[in-house]
């Protein structure tokens, strides 16, 4: 990623992304106008839908949690210059880890122990699904982009097979497991608030959000404060320098992919332990792919990823509301808006830089030439 040397950081990190976002909303507004709706009304519905209505913030943060996990997964790999497109499959396999742990143990041991085992299961299964492409990249030179994409398909097929044939609840048609035993799972925030005597509107937001915040802070320490993070960043910036400094490239790649896969696997904790209370088909719903855009927009930094996740969480939640309020704005229209935002703030992130540089130099350039 080519950061400009000319414009100051507050412009490149602060103002330009906001302006990109603004552009994306402008173009989206144009489309909404074209299908005969009022774009300003639409945006007000979206904002209200994601922050204002009772429970709206809860829903937004619940989506945010997923994006934090997948965004961090992509970002960590990217610090080692690995493009992990496999967040979707890793999250899916994380679900298998959660499901298996719960189905095996929930009849025998206490709920909170099962929950802990299930969280570990999600991380380990996700990690395994990252380790295999990592190993193939490190030892066999198979390109990680190709293998992780393929592993998404394999994960999807594997889960269909298992959920239809093996771990489906006996005697029913829909491809889901039985419900996990009561006492298993993470408590939802509105329940917690009620227990503390507060009245919070109902929403699927659960303790996973806290896990996501803790993991984000851990991510920052890992990447910028540990020897391992130092080696990962060296490798990402310059493999030749990494070799020169005695870093073991292949084992670093494999460990990075393991952690990355484990992070993506945590999506299953939010979805299955926090909300559904069972393993079901397709619960990942594209969070893994959106994580790529989140990481890109968040510049692979946990704080940026948090903000980007919040944005995408609001979009998901606001989009649902939009779909609900306007008969002419369908789910596809909402996807279009998300697509435009990914396009403007991800793929075209540096589109405006030359223009901003020019304007900046015109007004501020002369001060620094003393």
């Amino acid at each position: 990623m080519s950061d400009s040397n000319i414009i100051p950081k507050w412009l490149s990190v602060g103002v330009i992304p906001l302006f990109n976002l603004f552009l994306a909303f402008c173009v989206s507004g144009l489309f909404i106008f074209l299908i005969g709706e009022n774009p300003f009304k639409a945006i007000s519905v979206m904002i209200k839908g994601s922050f204002y209505y009772p429970g709206a913030i809860g829903y937004t943060l619940y989506y945010t949690t997923n994006f934090i996990f997948t965004g961090l997964a992509v970002a960590l790999a990217f610090h080692a210059r690995l493009f992990n497109i496999g967040g979707e499959g890793q999250a899916y396999l994380g679900g298998l880890g959660v499901g298996l742990m719960c189905l095996i143990f929930d009849q025998y041991i206490a709920g909170f122990l099962v929950t802990i085992l299930a969280i570990l299961g999600s991380v380990i299964f996700g990690a395994v699904w990252g380790i295999i492409p990592g190993y193939l990249q490190a030892k066999r030179g198979s390109h990680i982009v190709i293998t992780t994409i393929m592993f998404n398909f394999i994960a999807a097929a594997l889960m269909v097979y298992l959920l239809v044939n093996v771990i489906i609840e006996p005697g029913q048609m829909s491809p889901e497991t039985r419900d996990f035993a009561t006492g298993v799972g993470l408590v939802q925030i509105h329940m917690l608030a009620k227990y503390l005597g507060l009245n919070v509107a109902m929403s699927p937001l659960n303790l996973s959000f806290g896990i996501a915040l803790i993991v984000s802070i851990g991510f920052w320490f890992l990447v910028w404060r540990t020897k391992f993070g130092y080696e990962v960043r060296s490798l990402g910036h310059s493999e030749t320098s990494a070799v020169y400094s005695g870093i073991k490239v292949s084992s670093t790649i494999i460990i990075v992919m393991a952690i990355s896969g484990g992070l993506a696997g945590l999506v299953a904790v939010n979805e299955l332990l926090g909300v559904h209370n069972k393993l079901l088909l397709g619960f990942t719903a594209g969070y893994g792919f959106t994580g790529i855009a989140v990481a890109l927009m968040g510049r692979n930094h946990p704080f940026g990823i948090f903000l980007a996740s919040l944005l995408f969480g609001a979009l998901y939640q606001g989009g649902t509301e939009l779909d609900f309020e306007f008969s002419s704005i369908t789910r596809e229209m909402v996807l279009l808006i998300q697509g435009l935002i990914i396009l403007f703030s991800g793929a075209l992130a540096y589109m405006l830089n030359p223009l901003v540089e020019k304007i900046y130099l015109k007004y501020y350039g002369n001060f620094n030439n003393a």
């Binding site: 320490f221 020897k227 910036h237 310059s238 070799v243 020169y244 400094s245 005695g246 350039g365």
Partner: protein
């Protein structure tokens, strides 16, 4: 820039005979990149039919100026006159049409094409290659004869030696009617013999009326071939000289802006016991090419062993093996009487643990992680050491202190531990790498191309640092393509050619001519072998 400082009487303007024509005149050229002024009101005059040198440190604005002349950059202000007519050069195509040819430092040739095909490139003549080929063949025969440029037109570029490739570049320019030839650091990749050949060609081109602009940082070359010379510093032309009326010392002083010591004082040092023994080391590259053949030598404490040779004759691989980056395939390396047999026992980390420091040939690709801050680069390779960490976390405070010490002691500028290393000048980057490696208190220091792309001022400092380390008893293995450097720094010199050691001599006995002959593989000389 304070130009008054330089007016110490050496700004002798070249007095031109009234009749001579100016081939190039640049008037008040200014070019900015963001805040940086690369060229600041540059004025330059080059007489027709002369060889004009431009010298200056890296970042002095030489290349920018020539790129403006060649149409690659558009100047912010100023005028270009060619043959005393104002012209606008806004693209390389235009400049070629105006009779300007440029030979870049890194050749712009298609390696899988033949010489003829490369010369034709961009000048094919007609839709069908055949007819164009014939007319170009005729023209080339004339050109080769006139200028003494012998080349095999059917040879594939990747098979031809570097000196020959350069001739192809020159032919390419001449074939397109160049009357003004710009050469950017043309001798960097050549052997001394090839350099002599190039200069012969340049002289005969001059006789035929071609105007030549030579960009270089080698003052000796300026003195030997140019008629006039301009010195650039900080984006300005600070002095013009007639070459006959100046000296290397004066040029260097103008380049740096202060007096520079070009010769090095070798401190007397006590040569101790042999610490590194290399015996019959052979190595095949990944594509199966034999790059090292039966290399044997020994290195003693307190001695600098220079390895001379044209780039790409196995020196890099030798450094890689000794520093643990590449696996040892065949042969034996003994360090401190302890033999190393296989890569399992020998890797970059182990080499460092033992006390082998390595200043790599390519500081951009190896020695530094360019997007890292100075404080991060100052521990690259040593980041596992406990002194930089508390527990499993790295201790940023300790690292910053260490970096501050490094950049103070080794004069790395700017003196900021948190600047991005990629933004430092080449010389300061090299000082940072050298500082890091020296500060690890090594028993053996491997140094590759210590002054490649480094300013004169920094070179002086780097030499001093190496000498100081040597006087402390460190064994230093110095690989360089700069003969002067090898001869003035080393105690003993090995010459490598095509993966073998073709000669050994003590530096007091060495002459440039002998070394040059050995480097080109003409002569196998082994003297002083076992002193």
């Amino acid at each position: 820039m304070r130009s008054s400082e330089n007016k110490t009487g050496n700004e002798t303007t070249v007095s031109l005979p009234v009749s001579t024509k100016l081939a190039i005149e640049l008037k008040d050229i200014t070019k900015r990149f963001g805040h940086v002024i690369a060229n600041n009101d540059v004025n330059l005059k080059v007489e027709s039919g002369t060889i004009h040198g431009i010298v200056g440190e890296n970042g002095a604005g030489k290349s920018t100026l020539m790129n403006i002349l060649f149409g690659l950059y558009k100047p912010d202000s100023g005028t270009i006159f060619l043959n005393e007519q104002s012209v606008e050069v806004n693209s390389p195509e235009k400049s070629i049409a105006l009779g300007i040819g440029m030979v870049h430092q890194h050749f712009m040739l298609v390696p899988t094409f033949t010489v003829l095909e490369n010369v034709m490139l961009g000048n094919e003549g007609s839709m069908f290659l055949k007819s164009g080929e014939e007319s170009i063949l005729n023209r080339l025969k004339g050109l080769s004869k006139n200028y003494g440029l012998d080349v095999d037109l059917e040879a594939i570029i990747s098979d031809t030696p570097v000196g020959m490739q350069q001739r192809v570049e020159i032919l390419k320019a001449l074939n397109r009617g160049a009357k003004i030839l710009i050469l950017d650091e043309p001798t960097g990749v050549l052997t001394p013999q090839e350099t002599i050949g190039l200069f012969d060609i340049l002289r005969s081109l001059r006789e035929q009326g071609v105007t030549i602009v030579l960009i270089t940082h080698k003052l000796k070359e300026i003195m030997s071939i140019t008629d006039t010379v301009s010195v650039m510093r900080g984006g300005k032309v600070v002095a013009d000289f007639a070459t006959k009326k100046t000296s290397s010392e004066e040029l260097a002083e103008n380049m740096v802006g202060r007096k520079v010591l070009l010769s090095i004082k070798k401190p007397a040092s006590k040569v101790g016991k042999s610490i590194l023994e290399v015996k019959d080391v052979s190595h095949d590259s990944k594509d199966g090419v034999n790059v090292l053949k039966d290399i044997s030598f020994s290195l003693k404490e307190g001695e600098i062993l220079g390895i001379a040779g044209v780039a790409g004759n196995g020196q890099s691989e030798l450094l890689d093996i000794l520093s643990g980056i590449e696996a040892l395939q065949k042969g034996q390396i003994t360090i401190n009487d302890k033999p190393i047999f296989s890569h399992q026992e020998w890797n970059s980390k182990k080499a460092r643990d033992f006390g082998i420091a390595h200043v790599p040939e390519d500081r951009h690709k190896r020695g530094l992680v360019l997007p890292f801050h100075n404080y991060e680069n100052s521990i690259l390779g040593y980041h596992r050491n406990d002194q930089y960490s508390s527990g499993f976390l790295m201790d940023k405070g300790k690292i910053l202190n260490f970096t501050n010490e490094l950049i103070q002691n080794f004069d790395v500028r700017p003196r900021s531990p948190s600047i991005i290393s990629g933004k430092l000048s080449g010389g300061n980057q090299q000082k940072l790498v050298l500082a890091r490696e020296i500060e690890s208190k090594p028993k053996i220091l491997l140094v590759g191309q210590p002054t490649r792309g480094v300013d004169i001022g920094a070179i002086e400092r780097i030499y001093e640092d190496l000498m100081e380390l040597k006087s402390k008893g460190t064994a230093i293995l110095l690989v360089s393509v700069e003969l002067d450097e090898i001869m003035s720094l080393s105690d003993r010199i090995l010459v490598m050619n095509q993966g073998t050691i073709v000669g050994e001599t003590s530096s007091s006995n060495a002459t440039e001519l002998d070394l040059g002959k050995m480097m080109s593989g003409l002569e196998q000389v082994r003297e002083d072998r076992n002193e």
